[in-house]
Symmetry: C2
Subunit: 369 residues, 2 copies
């Protein structure tokens, strides 16, 4: 028996969690489920209508009912065996069956048959690309879409051609914040899929953890809203030598570094706006006490609530500063944070954000050499 | 009674054809239907499996059966009244009912339930954007997707912000070949929707007529095929003063005209490859004799079969040459064609394509001033 939140699962874990399990359950993804509960609970409160279109074991569905006070859950999985297990789980936990709809079909069809959801959780194996257009549709105005991606290597630049083909954007493995670039490309793609149908999918929260990204969007409706949102889509230019980085529009793409005259690299198109909604974060910090979340989750949320105070495009890492700016006597992260009035990032243990301009940072780095 | 091809329609035409007709039938769209029959007949031959997911009156479905030798037609319309009329039409024409499937549902759901089609015809009111992802899915490898767009004003630049939101590309009304730019943006979007799912939607034929664009694609399957195809997506740079135009990659976008040093405008991303497959055109010219096509259709196909011999990015028009290059004594189109070894374009009556470089064209224009 495995326990996650208030749910007991009758699942035998294999040595290695893989998509070939008869019914998929990944214990590391507790963070993913925790945070989806937390975002929805903080944003919508009790009584939410939740759609879990790739439900697998159904642990997420059940937790929404038992922990986050959802008024209705629409569970689906294309695998009939998963659906059977979920039905058993419902019985075992004595759930009020009038609160649950169970389907066994292709998620992209189900998502086109339903409407009015407060929350839709898109959580497929690998890339969410095939489910984005469908996933946006049943979310009601003001509701939330959650998207998981486990093709983080693609988004972060290990397979740039695949990223271009799948997401329509160039990633940038050369930058020390390549994961953040990957998440910004994912955000862009979701926004683009919404905008083409006159929806505004506004990024409100996202994170990177182990082998997955997760992003949450508030859905608004209307061409003007979408137009306003896509103004924040652009490119990132980056200098491999001096670490200069800047978000720019297509018209302002340049190839020469304004600081060191090195050759600039670029990534994009990608989302240049905020990654986190500060109001939502406040509500999440409050709601956190009311939900049975894992310690790992609490750590991430606390870290991000700090990080969100410096919403920069990209961050610095000690090792990039050491290598590229040739600093032998690197300070500790603690010391660096106080020097630059920075905040650590959750993306990597040695990374930090600062509101200093790049020139200011370089000056400061010179002074500690 | 209206006759189109071999089909008799019991429809009262209102003064103005509009989407508010109880069952939609637009006589001007005979060209659209004709050409879909012709492309499929030339490419697939007899025995094709055809899906007509927004069938309306069903005249297209019926013509595929009666004229183009389709072995099966999957007709659908979300409007039950259209479906009723189509059923009557089937009876009236004594069609073998085993060859016809009739559905009354949302096209984007139907398209996700079926497979193995030789041809899918996406023909909604206005923009096809909401049906592209779905429409690609049921086309079999080597089969054809046909896409109509009546939002040509959006694609061609009258509402640039809408084009950016809907298709993700900047149009360019300033260029004399703005319609071609619009079609190239439509082609890009279909290619992009395919590529994200590892499909290659290869443009094989397209045209602009009255208030619609139509484009046909051969579907191939596989990441490498899609990668190869998207290499032909890029930008168009254009000079308002000297008419200079060139297709370039993002990396080669420039803002100063290499000829006159004027400020360059741009459009894109868009398809920079060929608009027409010459082999297919040959087959179409042959097949044309076997189908009862309208005179208008024959004219367009003949024109395009000439135009396709000079597959340039953009064309010139006499009036642009007159106004922007300040030529008072404009030659006739005939004369111009022989001067530049050009071919007329079907996009506009006074336009022509030439394989001369822009510099060569300018020299020639100087010489006739
Ligand atoms: C990563 S797992 C989902 C895990 C689950 N959301 C959780 O939190 O434990 C992906 C699930 O999607 C299901 N699936 C795959 N393709 C699907 C499709 N087209 N429609 C619906 N479900 C699908 C698989 O059977 C699998 O159970
Ligand atoms: C432009 S007309 C189609 C004309 C037809 N293809 C022809 O050649 O005569 C568009 C049709 O799509 C139908 N329609 C609109 N939305 C639809 C949807 N979501 N699914 C299926 N049909 C739809 C309308 O009822 C209308 O009959
Ligand atoms: Zn530099
Ligand atoms: Zn010029």
């Amino acid at each position: 028996m495995i326990k996650e939140g208030k749910v007991l699962l009758n699942i035998e874990l294999p040595q290695v969690v893989s998509s070939r399990m008869p019914v998929f359950y990944n214990p590391h993804m507790v963070v993913n489920r925790d945070i989806s509960l937390l975002v929805v609970y903080a944003f919508v409160g009790e009584g939410a209508i939740v759609c879990d279109p790739m439900g697998a074991s159904g642990v997420r569905s059940l937790r929404f009912l038992l922990e986050a006070g959802a008024s209705k859950v629409i569970y689906n999985d294309i695998n009939p065996r998963a659906v059977e297990e979920f039905k058993k789980l419902l019985k075992m936990h004595g759930v009020d069956e009038s609160k649950v709809q169970v389907h066994t079909e292709d998620a992209s069809i189900l998502l086109r048959r339903i409407r009015g959801c407060d929350y839709v959780d898109v959580d497929p194996f690998g890339s969410p690309i095939a489910f984005l257009e469908s996933g946006i549709l049943p979310v009601k105005r003001g509701g939330i879409l959650g998207v998981s991606a486990t093709d983080t290597a693609v988004l972060s630049g290990t397979y740039p051609q695949t990223c271009i083909r799948r997401y329509g954007s160039k990633p940038l493995l050369e930058a020390e914040f390549y994961h953040e670039i990957g998440i910004r490309i994912l955000l862009k793609k979701v926004i683009e899929e919404g905008a083409k149908m006159d929806f505004a999918l506004i990024p409100i929260f996202c994170y990177s953890y182990r082998h997955h990204f997760k992003a949450f969007f508030k859905k608004d409706v209307g061409a003007r809203k979408a137009d306003h949102l896509i103004k924040n889509i652009g490119y990132l230019i980056y200098c491999n030598s001096c670490l200069y980085r800047e978000g720019v529009s297509l018209e302002n793409l340049r190839s020469t570094c304004p600081i060191c005259e090195g050759k600039l690299l670029y990534a994009g198109p990608l989302w240049l706006g905020k990654l986190w909604d500060e109001e939502l974060l406040k509500s999440m910090l409050k709601a956190m006490e009311k939900l049975p979340l894992s310690r790992e989750t609490l750590k991430i949320i606390k870290k991000i609530s700090q990080e969100a105070k410096k919403q920069t495009i990209g961050f610095y890492t000690l090792s990039a500063i050491g290598e590229r700016l040739k600093v032998g006597n690197l300070p500790t992260l603690e010391r660096m944070l106080s020097l630059v009035q920075g905040k650590p990032t959750h993306f990597t243990g040695e990374g930090f954000r600062t509101l200093l301009s790049h020139r200011e940072l370089l000056k400061l780095v010179e002074s500690i050499k």
